[in-house]
Amino acid sequence: MTAPLTNATLPARLESVIGSVSVLADPADCAAYAVDGIIPSAVAKITSSEQIREIVRFTASEKLALLPTGARTKLAIGWPPIRYEVALDMTGLNQIAHYDSADLTLSVDAGMPIAELNATLAQRGQFLPLLVPFYSASTVGGIIASGIDSPLRQFYGTARDFLMGAEFVDGAGKLCKSGGRVVKNVTGYDLHKLLIGSLGTLAVITRLNFRTFPAPITGSRGFVASFATAEGALALRRAIAQTSLAPLTLDVVSPELAKIFASRAPSAPEISVFAGERLSPQASLAPIGEWFRPREWQLCAAFAGAPEVLERYARDLTRMAQDAGATSTAVLDDNTRPSVWGRLREALAMLLESSPAAVVFKLGLLPAQHASAIMKLREIAERASIPHAQVACAAGPVFFALLPTTPVLVGSEHSQEWLCHCAAQIFESVSASKGQASVLFAPTAVKESLRALDVSSSQRTGASNPDRTDRGLMRRLKSAFDPQSIFARGHLFNHGGRL
């Protein structure tokens, strides 16, 4: 894709509207804000919600399209926007507006980096369990808009469970809010929940209210059990689910991902895994120990508590793993645990780094469907001779990655047609298991090919259940928030342009 420099005078007009705000117009600067190769004509680095309102009104009156951005680590999620002229750089809006540590509640600007926020909360022994990929750079607004969560969802749930309210600028350029700053609240519609995973298509998030949690700093452990088969690891996971044990994380890692973990470190190897750890944030992650077996399936569980509790978990998990036929088990302390959990947190980032043309699917499947679905998907990838890797969260989705070894070029061995063909089979297979599949990351060329598929199958790329009727309802919501469709057109859904 080339940069559609639709309007050379746009930056100047933008400056005249918002005055002192810093507007980037140099194509080289703007290129850093590209989405799927589309480079915006101007970047507005805002520092107040008032400026955002002005910019939204300006873009609406000029019929331009706008995309809010944070640290830009997850902008690649979503379909290529149909139009994108103005990037809003939100990183200048980065203060903690309110923190009542005694109430465990917080109100923070969207551009605040999560690592910085958690460093502040750690001083009070608290944290926000959003330990997402690209952790060291990600902003809280970007995390919410991307809908990405972390292995900690096993215990703490997803953002929708602890986001209490939000402020945002709607498509009419008005600052709106929903929810509040208290942990229990049913006053008015929960509009803030709609922002989670909205990819910037509904509103510009300016502020988010969260409940915080006591950080599991005093005493946490990791447990890793290796298995010759996926069934073994999943059987252990099922056994754990039938007890009162409540691990903080509970993931099953495929041998291929285990190999990536064993052979690499994430490029942003921040060691802090459960925020508040009294370890140097600069220290790089230690190599994984030999108890992590790259040719096997690994079940990884983290847990926290007082010594008696830690002992109980270690004892029960080891016994259950042995009963399930584990080839080895290991209990990891504060020194060794980050080597695995630092990588688990960054698993999506490491998958992307491991291939020049990674296609990462998010599969919404209930736990009992994981075993058969994973086997079917592995067969699809292997039939196409495309390397693959996956990780399955017990309480959440399976991430399945196709990892071609060469960049996607038409006619090459791993051509985009092959990838698309595979993707279509994956959608079919997940749909047959009554699940949902969506593409999180893919090379732009692959996205374009998927987009070119016929409407019925391209609809399935968003949600693979053919009987779903919610797309029309989502379209109505989009129109309610953004009547002129100026936010990230086409970014969330694959066709039609209205979303």
Binding site: D103, G180, V186, T187, S244, P367, G472
Partner: protein, 478 residues
């Protein structure tokens, strides 16, 4: 007004007992657990989603407003026919459609009683976590509409945290499905929007919920205090220390004595306040948590911290808590249970202010509430036949809610806005907020045919209500 043609058409596909329209019948549906009233012109009892859709289409054709209702235990007037019209009661859509024990999911019709779901799965060590005090009579459909809470939502979250997918009937009769069994559906979180929308966007006809695993160990503590301030400080301190009990309820001495005379749970008659605390989970963790809570209570001058010795004692204490509002019926012809929410760090000052407001307006105001969530339930006793007293009760209540907002709280923690608090909404929301909420409302319910007169202040509500209130049900004076 309801036409006989509509009744005739309803009767063409519903059994005679499923269509009520005589005044003596609809009279029974003019109230719920709140202090509001609103009489429907006719009441229907659908048994299937297809029937709901057909009823809704007919109502739309005749231009008649519709309102959904579960067991009518709501406390904000959400299930009342403020503008008359047709009421859909989901009592006969009360089947559990699917139990998936391995994945800990259930699919239920909206009329399933909350506690019945727990009864159906407890053999497998599972339960449905949201536990409003009315859980033995309220329906899951009503819980979804109001995003109901309960004592144990402190640790496990409100209804919204346990609902993953919905089947809906929109006001034009269209049937839609939102969410997914896992709960991580692609796109906008429509489930999150519809749960708690108080029946103003769609009628819910099927609900997929998460089932939770019962803990291996439970301990119930009763901490007894000689001052309300000490009890309130204890709650703030437990919160600030990052201790999360499964439940943390407060009963003040005045209500406690009324409850004890009724339930005989062993509550101390001479105390100023008690905290009813529950800790659960792994045996080892629970014991440590109970010890930590005991220490905080004693640090704030608890006179005694009792531990329930067995399941019978535990149930008796909870019976006292859950039947408290009923017990108060012994004192006055009527009581008004408020529902405000505040930051937990401000609990002591809020309870002091409530006492002052009671004195200013000449009421003894009791408090039985979810202290751990900061979810206040002040109770004002009054006689509805005394118009001046009723008016005073309303003003005292509004003053308390205003104070909650002033210190960073919200209008309602779990009962909903409904009719009760719609006029107080501007305390929290700006014109821009209302405009967006209005657009979202209109995206699904454009003609305001579904549950009109709720959530929005009448001045910002549907045009029809502003100009043509139902003759039977003039809007409340507030």
């Amino acid at each position: 007004m309801m036409t006989s043609a509509l009744i005739r058409e309803l009767r063409s596909f519903l059994s005679p007992s499923a269509v009520l329209h005589q005044p003596e019948d609809s009279l029974l549906y003019e109230y719920d657990g709140s202090i509001e009233k609103g009489r429907p012109d006719a009441v229907v009892f659908p048994t299937t989603t297809a029937e709901v859709s057909r009823i809704v289409r007919l109502a739309a054709k005749h231009g008649v407003p519709i309102v959904g209702r579960g067991a009518g235990t709501g406390l904000s007037g959400g299930a009342l026919a403020r503008c008359g019209g047709l009421m859909l009661v989901f009592a006969r859509m009360n089947r559990i459609l699917e139990l998936d024990l391995e994945n800990q999911r259930a699919v239920v019709q909206p009329g399933v009683v909350n506690f019945d779901l727990t009864l159906a799965v407890e053999h497998a060590g599972l339960y449905f976590a949201p536990d409003p005090s009315s859980q033995k009579s309220c329906t899951i459909g009503g819980n979804v509409a109001e995003n109901a809470g309960g004592p144990h939502t402190l640790a496990y979250g409100v209804t919204s945290n346990h609902v993953t997918a919905l089947e809906l009937v929109l006001p034009d009769g269209e049937i839609a499905r939102v969410g997914s069994a896992l709960g991580d559906a692609f796109g906008y979180d429509l489930t999150g929007l519809f749960v708690g929308s108080e029946g103003t966007l769609a009628l819910v006809t099927e609900i997929t919920v998460k089932l939770s695993r019962k803990p291996e160990a439970v301990k119930t503590l009763l901490a007894i205090f000689d001052s309300v301030d000490d009890a309130a400080e204890t709650v703030s301190d437990i919160t600030a220390r990052g201790i999360t009990p499964a439940a943390c309820e407060m009963l003040d001495g005045w209500t406690l004595r009324v409850v004890e005379e009724y339930v005989h749970a062993g509550f101390p008659m001479d105390s100023a306040a008690v905290l009813l605390l529950e800790v659960e989970g792994l045996l080892e963790a629970m014991q440590l948590q109970a010890a930590a809570i005991d220490e905080v209570c004693r640090g704030h001058h608890a006179r005694e911290v009792r531990i329930a010795r067995d399941a019978r004692e535990r149930e008796l204490l909870w019976k006292g808590r859950k039947n408290a509002f009923g017990a108060l019926g012994r004192l006055a012809p009527s009581n008004y249970v408020l529902d405000g929410v505040i930051p937990r760090s401000k609990l002591p000052q809020a309870l002091r202010r409530i006492r002052e407001i009671g004195e200013e307006f000449g009421f003894q105001i009791g408090n039985i509430f979810h202290a751990g969530d900061g979810n206040l339930h002040p109770i004002v006793l009054y006689d509805p036949r005394d118009a001046a007293q009723f008016e005073r009760a309303l003003r005292a209540s509004a003053e308390i809610i205003r104070y909650c907002v002033e210190i960073g709280g919200a209008l309602t923690g779990e009962h909903g806005v409904g009719m009760e608090k719609s006029e107080l909404m501007p305390l929290l929301f700006s014109d821009a907020d209302f405009e967006l909420m209005r657009r979202v409302h209109d995206a699904f319910n454009p003609t305001c045919s579904l549950n009109p007169g709720k959530i929005f202040p009448l001045s910002k509500g549907c045009g029809e209500i502003r100009t043509r209130p139902h003759p039977q049900n003039p809007p409340a004076s507030a």
